[in-house]
């Protein structure tokens, strides 16, 4: 049921406007914070206001401009988009609070918060893009708006990371553009409102090229190996950036794109016929394992988180590539699960860095005693990633395994298991160090993170817990994911 409503347009626009106001605020901290926070709140409210409708199956659409038939800028808040928008606007609100605390005393804060707002704006734009063109529009804008955040420190190292980041993402953008153009040429439309637009008779080579171009294009941001090289380097950015962008916005936009390609550009049926998804699934499986393996070897905290992110993102890709309703549910859910868990971890790492200056795993001995609340949150996130039942990560892995079986590819269940082991292998040592080893320096006093950092950490951790426990509560992400899956597969998702 489609309803014309400007809210899918307003949601991204809000933070665009806010960005302008933040830039204009200059050195005035009050107005900078005021505009940042109020935009976050308004945006969250806007998105939430559409949630009831979405749960009822309402789809909000808004066409801005049509250049020629089939090409235009249009917005559409379907269930999957809503899901993604909810995750990002919630996390933006939290991250903004965290960032206000974290960035205290840093130079160029207006630039930082301005582009920060722009990034989230584009993320929500991606979520609500009605067609691939609009999607691409925001996708590329995101690239550009992230750049100033990556090079924020203006050190040579940061500039180099920025260069690498741009090289990867812009080439990826090129592939997306190429795929989109070819898709339009083949289908005559770019809408994402259908379960697949490409005609089966478009020719195998053409379809393969389109698939490859789009997957490579989005795969860069989704950090599918071997396209992941930019992500660890980008960790040079301030922690809130790593947290929001490299846990949610940028990387998820990539993963979101991959799922859109699978469900809405090609469609499950066509892909099943074509068999393109199988290699993608294998690639994702490889990334899951290899990412984890490399994470294991990283001593630098943020880099370990980065490789973990690479690994986790491919859960989403794998889930989508399996082409079954269960796997799809897992994929969609993991967008939220991974986001909240990973952001918790980044927040904690940032808080550790801010309060103690420690950046390496090996330096964390005894940190649990000094920052009990933070490390508790970290532990919750770690448990979730490992897939301990009742935690959010378990839900993902459970559905993913079901989906793999549904697709007749039991081998991926094995991948899940190995991955869980690897997850455990690189997260638990941190927990172990934090709680069961004494710091060498003997500085044992409690130095918890300041409230502006701690509050978002705790909220996120709580949410991770909640996500695992509330799969049956309407209005929680799970229900939204279900609606989305029903749309993609045109069948009611089976809840085991």
């Amino acid at each position: 049921m489609g309803v014309v409503d400007p809210r899918p347009l307003l949601a991204p626009l809000i933070s665009f406007a806010c960005a302008g106001l933040v830039f204009a605020a200059g050195r005035n901290a009050f107005w900078r914070r005021f505009w940042s926070l109020s935009a976050a709140a308004v945006k969250l409210a806007l998105v939430l206001s559409m949630l009831p409708g979405t749960l009822r199956g309402v789809v909000y659409t808004f066409d801005v401009v049509a250049f020629t038939p089939g090409i235009g800028i249009a917005f559409r808040a379907d269930a999957y988009g809503m899901f993604f928008a909810l995750v990002s606007s919630t996390l933006w609100t939290l991250t903004t609070i965290y960032a206000i605390g974290y960035m205290r005393g840093e130079p160029d804060r207006s630039r930082f918060f301005g582009f920060f707002a722009l990034c989230v704006s584009t993320t929500v734009g991606v979520a609500f893009a009605e067609n691939l063109l609009t999607f691409f529009l925001f996708y590329e804008t995101l690239t550009i708006c992230t750049y100033p955040l990556v090079v924020h420190a203006e050190t040579p190292e940061a500039l180099r990371a920025g260069r690498v980041y741009l090289t990867y993402t812009l080439i990826g953008g090129g592939f997306v553009l190429l795929g989109s153009v070819m898709a339009f040429d083949a289908a005559g439309t770019l809408t994402l409102a259908q379960p697949g637009i490409l005609p089966a008779d478009a020719g195998g080579a053409t379809l393969a090229t389109i698939f490859a171009a789009l997957i490579v294009g989005f795969g860069v941001k989704a950090a599918i190996m071997p396209l992941h090289g930019w992500l660890p380097l980008a960790m040079v950015a301030p922690t809130p950036v790593s947290a929001l962008l490299h846990a949610v916005a940028v990387v998820k936009v990539g993963a979101f794109g991959v799922t859109r390609v699978i469900y809405n550009v090609f469609g499950v049926e066509l892909l099943q016929d074509l068999g393109f998804a199988t290699p993608l699934a294998w690639l994702a499986a490889f990334t899951i394992l290899a990412g984890s393996a490399i994470a294991l070897t990283q001593d630098h905290l943020k880099r370990r988180l980065a490789y973990s992110t690479i690994s986790q993102l491919s859960y989403i890709v794998l889930g989508a590539a399996l082409l079954t309703p269960f796997a799809a549910t897992a994929a969609i859910l993991h967008v939220a699960h991974q986001a909240f868990a990973k952001i918790t971890m980044f927040f904690v790492v940032g808080a550790i860095q801010r309060t103690t200056g420690k950046t390496r795993v090996s330096e964390l001995a005894g940190i649990g005693a000094r920052m009990p609340w933070s490390m508790a949150a970290f532990t919750i996130a770690a448990l979730s990633f490992v897939g301990v039942p009742l935690f959010a990560g378990f839900v993902t892995k459970w559905y993913l395994s079901l989906g793999a079986l549904q697709a007749g590819a039991g081998v991926f269940v094995g991948v899940m298991l190995v991955s869980s082991l690897l997850n455990a292998a690189y997260w638990f040592p941190i927990v172990h160090l934090a709680y069961f080893r004494r710091a060498d320096g003997g500085d044992e006093g409690v130095h918890e993170a300041p409230p502006l950092l701690l509050v978002p950490i705790l909220i996120c951790a709580a949410y991770v817990l909640l996500l695992g426990l509330t799969t049956q509560v309407p209005g929680m992400p799970f229900s939204v994911a279900q609606v989305a899956v029903e749309r993609a597969f045109a069948v009611p998702a089976v809840v085991p």
Binding site: I71, P148, E154, R163, L177
Partner: protein, 497 residues
């Protein structure tokens, strides 16, 4: 009251010419007033132009017989939709002229003010005439007005280097003009006519192919040189980089477009005549465009001189346009046509902003201009907006152009060009990012840069206006398409999309 707009067509050319002729007269009395006078002339011309464009949008194309001699018996002006699409480019003069006031006052002695503004008006008049004439020889003469004033404008700013750059430009430009004349002469000998439409009609199958091909090649080469398509671009970088910034804006934004307009006219003519193998030609054109995109961008990457970088970027952008027309597909042609205007606007913005930076700091290389954004935030922001626009990032109009051209590539079953286009664009990203990096993310190395002040309002207002226009043109997105599509349908060997 209704204005008989059609009757005003020749005055769109005559007004700037008369204004130019009177400028030195005025300069002899009070040089101070030449700038405002030139601006007034520009505004009057623009008013006529806009009225004409509106008229065409409403009533369609029309012809005007100079002296009442219609058809081939005299000189005919033809105001079609393509002309109506490119003509509003003269609007940019309304911004460039006031921008140059400060430059003129600071850098030129009063004895030269009149001549400078006269040349600007002559460039404008020549371009307008070039776009609307329906006569081959007349095309040549108008081209000469524009070219000759461009050569001189390049040399206005300095002594040795500028004169040398201008002379190089002159030599290549003169050879190009000569080729155009040769082509015109051949067609005239073959058909006995100079009227574009009439020549097309008379180039029947009984006309010898050899000379026709040579005429075609001569005309095309001529306009490719004027458009600075790689490898015929060699005159451009120095000329555009060394010229005073308002002049660079005129040259890069507008004058190279005469080559494009000429190309379109030639293709139009020969398509109507069906006298040369246009398919092969289009393919060659597409290749040239693709190579220009890549090479222009590639060469731009290595430039430290801000204006030189912008100059190379022009080669690259002209490549887009040429590729778009070369693909000979409706979508691609639309994209190319839009990019003609789009690039003009953006490149004007960029060159003027670069000029403002150079004017205030005295430095012109990126390494010297590092960190200037802190001292001149508004100018730097204009620069950044220009960069984003020209790179063709969504949601700017530049993106739309690329989109359409790439679409045309697939539409015409020439996928490799789609690939070349999309990935050639990445080169362009590279150097604009370098520019933004230098301006914003690097610390100043010169005290003069760190302590620079914003440009005076006579320069700042045009800059802000242009930057706003870039954004608006982008946000308008497809609005102009309604106008372009019929325009392109009229000039291309293919129908509209």
């Amino acid at each position: 009251m209704s204005v008989a707009w059609e009757q005003l067509l020749p005055w769109a050319v005559a007004l700037p010419f008369v204004g130019a002729a009177l400028t030195p007269v005025l300069a002899a009395r009070s040089p101070r007033w030449t700038g405002p006078w030139a601006w007034g002339v520009v505004l009057a011309t623009v008013a006529v132009t806009v009225g004409l464009v509106a008229h065409v949008a409403e009533a369609g194309a029309f012809t005007y017989a100079i002296g009442g001699w219609s058809g081939a018996y005299g000189i005919e002006l033809r105001f079609d939709r393509f002309a109506a699409w490119v003509l509003p480019l003269s609007l940019l003069f309304a911004v460039i002229v006031p921008f140059s006031w400060r430059y003129v006052v600071v850098s030129l002695e009063p004895a030269r003010w009149g001549a400078f503004y006269a040349l600007l008006l002559l460039v404008m008049g020549g371009m307008i005439g070039f776009s609307i004439t329906g006569d081959l020889f007349n095309l040549f003469v108008f081209m000469e007005v524009t070219s000759l004033s461009s050569y001189a404008l390049v040399a206005v700013g300095g002594r040795g280097v500028a004169a040398w750059a201008a002379l190089k430009y002159l030599f290549l430009g003169a050879v190009a003009s000569l080729l155009a004349l040769l082509g015109t002469a051949l067609l005239f000998v073959l058909t006995g006519s100079l009227n574009l439409a009439d020549v097309a009609a008379r180039l029947g199958p009984d006309v010898a192919r050899g000379p026709v091909l040579i005429a075609f090649a001569a005309l095309v080469t001529s306009f490719l040189v004027k458009a600075a398509v790689f490898p015929l671009h060699v005159w451009l970088p120095d000329a555009h980089a060394i010229a005073p910034s308002p002049v660079s804006a005129v040259l890069s934004g507008l004058v190279v477009k005469t080559g494009i307009v000429g190309l379109v006219r030639v293709v139009q003519l020969f398509h109507a005549a069906d006298a040369v193998p246009l398919a092969g030609f289009h393919l060659a054109l597409a290749w040239l465009g693709a190579v220009s995109i890549v090479m222009g961008a590639f060469l731009a990457i290595f430039q430290d001189d801000l204006k030189l970088m912008l100059a190379y970027s022009t080669i690259s952008n002209v490549g887009y346009i040429v590729l778009g027309f070369g693909l000979a597909a409706p979508y691609a042609a639309v994209g190319a046509s839009v990019h003609v205007v789009n690039h003009a606007l953006i490149k004007t913005t960029l060159f003027l902003a670069a000029g403002a930076l150079i004017h205030q700091t005295g430095f012109r290389t990126l390494s010297d201009l590092r960190g200037v954004a802190r001292a001149m935030p508004q100018t730097a922001a204009v620069m950044a907006i220009g960069a984003v626009s020209i790179v063709g990032l969504p949601p700017t109009a530049g993106f739309l152009c690329k989109w359409y051209i790439a679409l045309g590539a697939f539409e015409a079953d020439r996928a490799p060009f789609g690939f070349a286009l999309v990935f050639g664009a990445l080169f362009i990203f590279v150097y604009y990012i370098r520019m933004v990096n230098a301006l914003y993310f690097q610390a100043p190395v010169h005290a003069r840069v760190a302590e620079a002040t914003e440009v005076p309002w006579s320069m700042r207002a045009p800059l802000l206006l242009l930057a706003a226009s870039c954004l608006v043109l982008g946000l308008l997105g497809g609005a102009p398409l309604a106008f372009v599509e019929p325009a392109v349908a009229g000039v291309l060997p293919v129908g509209g999309p």
